[in-house]
Symmetry: C2
Subunit: 276 residues, 2 copies
C-alpha cells in the first residue's frame, strides 16, 4: 500500500488528530483504472457537500485528485481511499479555532472478484439495525462502528455482504454498498436521509439510468425480480441469495454493468482472469 | 501534553489505524490528583465491558493504570485520556484476524474552573437529537460526530455545556457529561440504554448516593428543584440556567461535591485559586 499524509509520503498521523480521537472526518473510496478515476467528480462533490455539513474546511479538490493519481500511478487497477479529518485538536468537542484538516491518501492494487459480478453474491441479513440520525445520514463519515459490528455478524467467506435495515425495520443498504431492487418492473433504491451513505455508484445510477427512491421492507424483496448492490469500487453486484430467497442476475444489473464498463470501470481484470 | 502510544513516548499512530479510519475504539477521560486516580476501577470496568461489546481484546488494565500514573507524574492535578483502538487494519470493516489494539495515553495539567462548580453553569438546549442505537449506547466509543455537531451549536464562552435529547425528545445527557435532576424531591437521571454514555461519575453517584433511572422531557426540568451535570473530570456542576429557566445550586449537588472531595477529587485547586 502507498500512503501519504498531507501530501507527504508518510504513514503516520498525530494521536491527537480528531479523526483518531472522535472519528471527526470523512472518507471516499474509489477505483482508479490505468491512471483514470472516472467517478472523481462525484466523489469530490460528496466530499465537498459533507465537509460543509460537518463545518470543515475543504482542501483543494483538484490537488486531492492529483494526489490520488500520483499514489495510484503504475497500478493497472487500484483502490484508493481519501480520508479528510478535522486535524489536530485540543481536548474537548469544540471546533478548533484554526482548523487544519488532515488529508490521508492510500492506494493499493484492487483485488479482483469477477465471480461476484458475474454470478452474484450471497448476502447475510444483519441483526444490527442502523440508528436514524438525519444530521449524519448520507455522509461517508468516519463514525463506522455500526458497520464494524454488522460486518462482525458473519465469518463465512461465501457471504460477501450484509443487508442493513434501520431501527424501524426498513431496508437501507449493505455494510459497504447501496442496494437496488426491481419490484413490479420498477427500479427502487431506499432513501438515505435518515441513515446510510449516499453512494457515488448510487448517484451515478440515479443520474444515468434513473430509479425511484422509495422505502421498503425486507419482505418486499421476495417480490423483486432482481436485487443488486452498488459500490464505487466493486461496481454492480447482483444479489444471488439472501436468507432462503434466491434471484438470478437480472437484465438491469447487466445493463448497469455494461454502463460501468463504458465509464471506464470494467469488471476487474476480466480478460486477465479468463486467460488464467 | 505528555503522550504515549503502545507504552512508548511518541505522539503518532498509523494512518491505517482503525481508530482513525472508522472511529473503531473506545476512550476514557479521567482526573488524577497528586498521583492518584480515585475512580480508576470504574474506568477500567467500563473499558472492559465496552471492549467485550465491541469484540476487542482488552489490554492488561493494571498496566494501563501504571501508564496513566507514569504520564501524570509530577502534575498536581491532571486530566488523562486513555484511548483504545482496534489497531491497524486492512481495508474493509471485517475484524482483523490478528487484532493488536492501539493504546494511546495523553496527560495534561487540568485547567481549573472553581466558579463553575461553585456558582453553576449555563447550558444551551441543543437542536441536534441523539440517534437511538442500543448496540452502541452507554459506551464511550470513538464515534463522536453527534457530540462535535452539538458542541458547534454555540460559541458563547459563558455557556459551558449543551443539553441533548434523543430523537423522541427525551432528555439524555450533556455533550460531555451526564445529567441529574431533583424532581418532586427525588433524584433522577435518564437511562443510557438507547443513546448517551454511562459516565463514571454517574456510576459513582448511582452506587454511593442512589438515584432513580427514569425518562423525562425538558419540560419536566422546569419542575426540578435542582439540576446538575456530572463528569469524571469536572465533577459535579450545578446547572444555573437553561434557556429561560434558572436554578440555584441545591443541596444534593453540594452533598455530592463533598462526596467528591472525600474521594480525593476536590474542587480543582480551590485553595490555590483563593490565594490568588
Amino acid at each position: 500500500m502507498r500512503l501519504s499524509v498531507d501530501f507527504h509520503d508518510t504513514g503516520a498521523v498525530a494521536a491527537t488528530d480528531r479523526g483518531f480521537t472522535y472519528g471527526d472526518g470523512l472518507f471516499e473510496t474509489l477505483r482508479v483504472v490505468a491512471g483514470v478515476a472516472p467517478l472523481w467528480h462525484r466523489h469530490a462533490a460528496r466530499l465537498s457537500e459533507s465537509a460543509g455539513r460537518l463545518l470543515m474546511p475543504l482542501p483543494d479538490t483538484d490537488r486531492l485528485h492529483g494526489e490520488v493519481l500520483r499514489l495510484s500511478a503504475g497500478l493497472d487497477d487500484a483502490v484508493v481511499r481519501v480520508t479528510l479529518s478535522r486535524g489536530v485538536g485540543e481536548r474537548g468537542y469544540a471546533l478548533p479555532r484554526d482548523p487544519r484538516p488532515t488529508v490521508v491518501v492510500a492506494a493499493a492494487p484492487l483485488a479482483t472478484d469477477t465471480v461476484a459480478a458475474e454470478q452474484g453474491i450471497a448476502v447475510h441479513a444483519c441483526e444490527l439495525r442502523l440508528a436514524r440520525q438525519p444530521r449524519l445520514a448520507g455522509m461517508k463519515h468516519l463514525n463506522r462502528l455500526e458497520q464494524v459490528l454488522a460486518r462482525a455478524e458473519w465469518a463465512d467467506p461465501a457471504v460477501a455482504e450484509g443487508l442493513l435495515c434501520d431501527t424501524e425495520g426498513r431496508v437501507v443498504c449493505a455494510t459497504a454498498a447501496n442496494l437496488f431492487a426491481v419490484v413490479d418492473g420498477e427500479l427502487l433504491t431506499p432513501p438515505v436521509d435518515q441513515c446510510g451513505v449516499a453512494g457515488v455508484a448510487r448517484a451515478e445510477i440515479l443520474a444515468a439510468h434513473g430509479a425511484r427512491v422509495a422505502s421498503f421492507f425486507p419482505a418486499d424483496l421476495t417480490r423483486a425480480s432482481e436485487v443488486f448492490l452498488t459500490s464505487a469500487v466493486r461496481g454492480i453486484l447482483p444479489v444471488r441469495a439472501l436468507g432462503a430467497h434466491a434471484w438470478p442476475p437480472g437484465p438491469v444489473a447487466r445493463a448497469l454493468q455494461a454502463h460501468w464498463a463504458r465509464l471506464g470501470l470494467p469488471l476487474p481484470n476480466r480478460a486477465k482472469d479468463r486467460d488464467r
